[in-house]
Symmetry: C2
């Protein structure tokens, strides 16, 4: 097994330096699930730097889930948030210093991008996107694609830190160039972002995973998600009693959207109950057996990736408008599910 610290740059020197420079006494650490096994190593590092380390052990799937309340409760004077880049929109809410360690992957992308070229054969104009773990390699990837005769497009929209970067919930860097490209290449681990990319653009999408060392076309898998969305919307359209989920994670909190959709559901003769929650899990929703469908104003990927886990439809706000006949399915699809 390859040791994680070799795979991901945990920027140990920077972390030490910053703790010492800021004279931090108590440091709250947030890690995405894949890096949580490194918690003991990171805790030692912080302790060596003269501060008390506290590891946040609740799930953390993005910079949207910044542990500000927890830092306050624990009197932490510094948060170190690993694995995600800073969310522009949260800056104004932050009242404790936060260091982002983006956990860049120390892994070659050359072979897997060359593998991806086989799949990219039919197209000349390629949109290139990746996660924060590989953005430092984007020029290298671009070069490989160019050398193979491709025209490469990389988007960079305001609020996203790096050119070509996508988040699980934010594909604006892909959408911005979508009408100029015939297909997308996503470089990164797993299928989560690649599926999101297809849902956002509906363009042929090749996923090149440097960790698995293989590329493949993601479209069919993403289309199964779309089919499930269709089925969930159809089922929800018959629902009388709706739960409107307000996400309590700071970057997912959208009370205004929840109140609006409650009013819109009620205007259509539906019953709508506001449900505030931190973790949107199948178990938590099972406690409300008479609610027939949910609209989720928090993380859209809970609907668009984990839909199968729930026994009732859990729609995004736009899907809800399709379900109550205020938006056409085709229009929803055309504008991208994300």
């Amino acid at each position: 097994m390859i040791k994680l610290p070799v795979l991901f740059d945990l920027e140990e020197d920077k972390v030490k330096r910053e703790i010492i420079k800021r004279k931090a006494r108590r440091v709250l650490v947030q890690l995405p699930e894949g890096l949580k096994p490194e918690a003991p190593r990171i805790a030692s590092l912080i302790e060596e730097s003269g501060a008390l380390p506290i590891i946040s052990a609740d799930p953390c799937y993005g910079a949207c889930d910044l542990a500000l309340d927890e830092a306050e409760m624990l009197s932490a004077d510094l948060i170190i948030h690993y694995g995600h880049s800073e969310m522009e929109s949260l800056k104004r809410l932050i009242d404790v210093p936060v260091i982002y360690v983006e956990a860049k992957a120390n892994i070659s992308v050359k072979d897997v991008v060359e593998d991806a070229l086989h799949y990219l054969k039919p197209w000349n104009n390629i949109g290139l996107v990746t996660t924060v773990q590989h953005v430092h390699m984007i020029k290298k990837i671009e070069k490989i694609l160019r050398a193979a005769g491709k025209k490469v497009y990389i988007g960079h929209e305001p609020g996203l830190k790096y050119p070509g970067q996508v988040l699980g919930c934010d594909y604006r860097n892909a959408k911005a160039i979508s009408n100029m490209v015939e297909a997308f290449l996503f470089v990164g681990g797993g299928v989560f972002h690649a599926i999101g990319l297809f849902l956002a653009t509906l363009k042929p999408t090749i996923a090149a995973d440097p960790f698995e060392g293989r590329a493949h076309r993601i479209d069919d898998e993403a289309k199964r998600v779309i089919n499930k969305r269709w089925a969930d919307i159809a089922e929800a359209s018959k629902a009388k009693r709706w739960g409107v989920i307000i996400g309590l994670k700071i970057g997912q909190f959208n009370l205004e959207a929840s109140l609006k959709i409650k009013r819109d559901l009620e205007k259509c003769g539906k019953e709508a109950i506001l449900l505030a929650m931190r973790e949107i899990t199948p178990e938590n929703l099972l406690e409300f057996p008479t609610i027939e469908a949910y609209v989720n104003t928090a993380c859209p990927r809970i609907s668009l990736y984990e839909g199968r886990k729930f026994s009732k439809p859990v729609l995004t706000p736009r899907e809800t408008y399709v379900a109550i006949g205020k938006m056409k399915w085709e229009e929803y699809l055309k504008s991208g599910l994300l």
Copy 2:
């Protein structure tokens, strides 16, 4: 199926009256898992009273889990907390009005207490305890026991609202009378509190469940919990790397205890990593594969009831002192596990 509102008094008139009197505009509702199905009914009631209802859909297992942060985030001007009585120790932390609806059970206890008398035959001095759902029946239960010739003891310690009341984590009303009684009678639903009662007192314990309509002796089930505690402590005594869990629920938060036990573990040559978390679940702990044992400074019942769910030992602080040889198992047992 018996409808829940018939079984539990949701004090609808009081709730309406209080909302109107306090001119509440936005009301956050907390319900224990068993009452969550009533959320739509309660939401309607609040809406009829002129306020916006928001249901907290995260798990809630006690008044220790008061949703103060959530109320602040949602700008709620009133919390209605169902199913538990107020925790004395939290009063000084509360900055938003809270109404407690204790959800008294509308169910006769007569038959089940008479059933319990068969099991209580060997003893004359009986300690009587129950949950907040049945405390209003305690005089009636006492009378039935007296009529059968029993001497009845009911404790009432400071900080507990009602005589004879126990919480999942607080059996002081039982411990206070324990040396005067030969056996305990617990009246209430399920086995959770009855097992806790045995763990706290080690006295013969009869559980009389008015919902199931049957009484039985709980000792063997509780002894299996004790055996599991012994096994977990034995396993943890070999652990080098410990996780020290800081509970982030307001009434479970005990940073000082966590810091103390971290120091004490380190004095014994152990490694100790502070882990802050809201929900202590097997899934969340599985993310730390190199941690060999946990000490949990939050809800003790996670260790003393759900121990089997975890793949690694999750000890209470006192159990941890047994594991590192600073307390004898017999001493721990004798003073009560809770």
